[in-house]
Symmetry: C2
Subunit: 640 residues, 2 copies
């Protein structure tokens, strides 16, 4: 019913069989979700305690005890359920159905009679509901409940979770708004807004959309709600770092529509922007669209790491200033890159411009994929572009950077966020509007497009072979195929004949009159990439890029002290042995380089630099730290 924009296709109609992404998405269904469920149930030893399920049991009156964990912990089970729902919808591992039902039953029992649902406030502070929107994150968790419910209903047609979510959503739409009996507040962590848009799209109930809009429109309006709330709470905070609260941290210093540059907490920012783009589209609001464009440009053209990572400050997980992109001390939270994918997907939907997917792809292929171990059982929260493990110490400025993936986190937002993203990859690969099927990412897969009479489109995408893409359709269909930023003079064959498709907003357009095969050669080559001069951290350095993949050097291949590695950008980059022990059978690149030696045996001494030739071996960043842990570096010093 919403054909004005393109929309993702149903998971159940997409099968991913890519050597890299197929491996990961199957792993989510086969291994990861059961493992995460066990962790949420505190059944895995030697892991940071979750207590998530137990909190629900306590809130439901099924167990005694105290709430344990960060205030947003409920969202873990919701994001996990969302991921489970996508797997169920894909027809994968239907055994997940049973544990999903068990979880949903428990969640519904923890709901209060009036629809309120938050285990922290129910167990610990029942009288303080909605009194600490800045930190309490009730609305954040509610958003993830709604997203899970929409996904579960879409996957199963079961209504228990959806009913639960709607009861809570109805309470929220009644509680918050401009009315005199309502709270004129908005969430400390954006998320509910985009969830309400999803609920609106599912149910057609306009009040959800309007409340989402309310939360965006009233954010940062004067007198500032948060300042009033902090005052009412006598500046008592749950989190010590929220003393002297900086409104910019939560993008609540002025209304989002007036925000021209991105700032504050990166995940909050990306979730807000995603909701803004949803609303811009639903309301056809050009002012909001312009704000989104401006925030997108600020994000991707001035504040994004080459890995699609976001957040330059370890403290408060936030953006800092334009071009401040420190490779070792940054944050680059996995969730922020998931948020960037969401924002870009929505911007492409609003504008029908393929260009947004360049950053979506960069984020997915690098930071998001790096966030999970090849066995699915360990995760990065922070994704450094350069690591010297010895300095990643507790109780120091580097305490946020872990040199190896961890089994779980006390604030474990990322593991389930990765799971729900990889379990619903199809939404980023394909989309449709009323006329065309859009192909956004080059991940081997098949799709059956119900909307177009069940046409079956199959894609075999081989980036490793240099970006050779074969797309076959078994019936007439209009295809719009994104031309990525890394393609160099792409060549198109239609049924073996050279073709020169119309290129429109970054898409190559094919109007197939019958079953056909399109073959594309994107001419992907390893390329030395540099950063803008203003990025002080990357001055005189280059990163090796191969299509959407950023490559890195690891200690296990190149020895220690990677800061001393030097390269020539005109050197021949050759293919080494494939990484057969890791998924995707990805190429390694080899090239001649140097190792600098200062000639100083003490701590300081007369400079007497030498260069020793060495052979360097680069691997895809998304697979780093899957072998012997150690140092890693993306940006390599260039001999100039």
């Amino acid at each position: 019913m919403h054909r004005k924009y393109f929309h993702p296709l149903k998971n159940k109609h997409i099968r991913i069989n890519d050597p890299l992404f197929g491996y990961y998405s199957n792993m989510i269904a086969d291994t990861v979700l059961q493992y995460q469920w066990d962790i949420l149930n505190d059944r895995i030893e030697g892991v940071e305690l979750s207590h998530c399920v137990e909190n629900f049991r306590i809130a439901a009156g099924l167990s005694d005890g105290k709430y344990y964990g960060t205030v947003n912990l409920d969202s873990d089970i919701y994001k996990w359920l969302e991921a489970v729902s996508y797997c169920i919808e894909s027809g994968k591992r239907n055994h997940l159905n049973n544990i999903a039902d068990e979880a949903i039953d428990l969640i519904s029992k923890a709901q209060q009679p009036d629809g309120y649902l938050n285990t922290y406030y129910t167990v610990e502070k029942p009288e303080e509901r909605w009194t600490n929107l800045v930190e309490g994150l009730e609305l954040y968790s509610a958003g993830h409940l709604i997203e899970a419910a929409v996904a579960h209903y879409s996957a199963t047609d079961k209504t228990v979770l959806l009913d639960t979510a709607i009861r809570f959503a109805d309470l929220i739409t009644e509680t918050f708004g401009p009315g005199s009996s309502q709270i004129q507040g908005y969430p400390g962590h954006q998320e509910i807004e985009l969830a309400l848009v999803k609920l609106y799209r599912l149910t057609g109930e306009k009040r959800y959309l309007d409340t989402a809009r309310y939360f965006i429109d009233y954010r940062g309006v004067l007198p500032n709600y948060f300042l009033g709330e902090i005052d009412r709470r006598n500046e008592e905070t749950i989190f010590p770092e929220f003393k002297n609260y900086d409104l910019k941290y939560s993008q609540s210093h002025k209304p989002p529509v007036s925000q021209k540059s991105i700032g504050g907490h990166a995940v909050r920012a990306m979730y807000m922007c995603s909701a803004m783009a949803d609303l811009a589209l639903e309301y056809g609001d050009e002012e909001l669209t312009a704000a989104c464009s401006s925030l997108w440009a600020s994000t991707t053209e001035k504040n994004m790491f080459i890995t699609g990572g976001l957040g330059s400050s370890g403290f408060l997980e936030r953006f800092t200033t334009e071009y401040d992109l420190p490779n070792d001390s940054m944050y680059c939270e996995t969730c922020a890159s998931v948020g960037l994918m969401m924002f870009g997907q929505r911007m492409a939907s609003v504008t029908k411009d393929a260009g947004y997917y360049d950053a979506v792809e960069r984020a997915l292929y690098n930071t998001v994929m790096a966030g999970i171990n090849a066995d699915g059982l360990k995760y990065f929260y922070v994704n450094p572009l350069e690591v010297w493990p010895d300095r990643c110490l507790p109780s120091t400025s580097m305490r946020h950077v872990r040199p190896v993936r961890q089994k779980w986190y006390s604030c474990a937002c990322c593991p389930t966020n990765i799971a729900r993203t990889l379990a619903s990859l199809g939404q980023y690969i394909y989309a449709a509007d009323d006329r065309s099927l859009y192909i956004h990412l080059f991940i081997s897969s098949e799709v059956v497009v119900e909307e177009f009479g069940g046409v079956r489109v199959k894609m075999v995408a081989d980036i490793a072979a240099g970006g050779i893409i074969r797309i076959t359709a078994d019936a007439p269909v209009n295809l719009r195929i994104r031309i990525p930023d890394y393609s160099e003079e792409p060549e198109f064959l239609l049924d073996a004949d050279l073709a020169e498709p119309v290129i429109e907003s970054g898409y190559a357009f094919f109007e197939l009159k019958s079953a056909a095969e399109i073959k594309i050669n994107f001419n992907v080559k390893p390329r030395w990439t540099a950063a803008n001069n203003r990025v002080r951290s990357d001055a005189g350095k280059a990163a090796l890029i191969f299509g959407p993949f950023v490559y890195c050097l690891e200690e296990t291949d190149n020895g220690s002290n990677l800061s001393a590695a030097v390269i020539d950008t005109d050197v021949s980059v050759e293919r080494g042995k494939r990484l057969s022990e890791l998924p995707g059978n990805m190429p390694v690149f080899e090239y001649d380089g140097y190792r600098m030696d200062s000639g100083v045996s003490g701590l300081y001494g007369t400079a007497d630099f030498r260069m020793e030739p060495i052979r360097l071996h680069a691997v895809p960043y998304c697979l780093w730290c899957n072998r012997e842990p150690g140092e890693m570096i993306i940006w390599q010093r260039v001999r100039i």
Copy 2:
């Protein structure tokens, strides 16, 4: 009476007339101490509130109100008084006498009948005295009271402050110790130990020395006192960052004598090491001496910035791991370098080895001097080696780095620490034992050595001219003159004749039989210095050093984006116009270099590096940020 080690000479017998250091030490007496007194009295507008004097007034019952400020705030007035005392002793600005007496009168009135003296506990928590040694810092402030009292008595022979300090010291020696009725605790921030040694040396009372020794010996002994205390306080903390207290932070994880490598909070570490060296000397304790040597080597050979700065982590102001010396995000607290001077001075005294003064000199000439503005009215707490002001933002990881000196700080330990150090510079220049006068630093000055029949020694030291030092003595005297690490084939003339003095433990020894003149040419040249390969932050970079002075590039001379500056280490470094607008009339160095350009107009793009020749202008780091503020960098990229 303690002739087994060398000891500093009395301030009143030293006159500093160096163009650089004379300027600063006069400025302390002429301007700074009155200004700091006004700040301590909250009389200066637009400055971070001190409330120090007001806290004493409240504790003395002379004013109503609440305590305000960090728990260690009392120490500000004590360090200020210590500085005032040195100025009085030097015969400078005797008007300071009156305000010192006023301050001392107030301090004595705030003392409790049993000798206890701490305004925070007296005003806020009289029942909780000594219950939070980890954070409460009562013993730290007590130490500074004692140091001030020793200095004031030595300067004036007045006993009011000394009596006050002794009453408190006596309470402390009674309260703490191994006895069953005593507290088996020790300070959360070391300082009292070295103060008690000073009090012992003044009074000859052994109990002060023994309590100092007790504090060092029992530190970190099992069962750990701090862990017990934290437990007794139910883990309640004054400072949120002390949750999950890391014993290594305060060097209380094991006894100091067993600590082989430096770690934890840098100022705490340096003050502890200084006390250890004092005790090693007083007790002739070889085990303690060995521990000191090991900690000194760990500090200066593996954890020291080239500026003599210490502390690699902004969070908790602490050491991290060996060779982790990040130039932009480090701490390098001014106080830590003052502490390094203290430690080195004492190690030289224990060992009679001149080599310790290389680091003392490095710390003084760079970090400590950089800590104060040329007008004396602004201070650095954190001393970066590289600054890009745009990224030094509040509520981010870089919030501790201020790109310009500040008028005051909420925790204002550094301004008064600089004042007391610069007001007593003579103790670092000269020392004596029973046979010789030692010359440690090359700062133009005169000294009259009472111990050696009033011989007058005059030094005219011109580092700027290449390290030309003239030392004249008007009577026979034994001189031991330190040969600094930066001297290259030093040449000695004795009364215009070439001399070849015996070199012993880094000292050139002259046994002058009559009045004489020694002329030394240390052949100081600008030198490109590199760091050990293991220092990742300095890989492929060099710093320009001229004798003890580290040089840096400032934006005002070299344009912005100093990370893009590249140098050849074999380029000719020439003298530019002297910095006549700043004290010391120091040379600027000029050399040809390059500016890199990545050729990328967006955020990332194909690397196409170019180098454009430019002329670079380096100024002494100690004078940086005294003209137009902006970027600054010490370590410059080398073309290799």
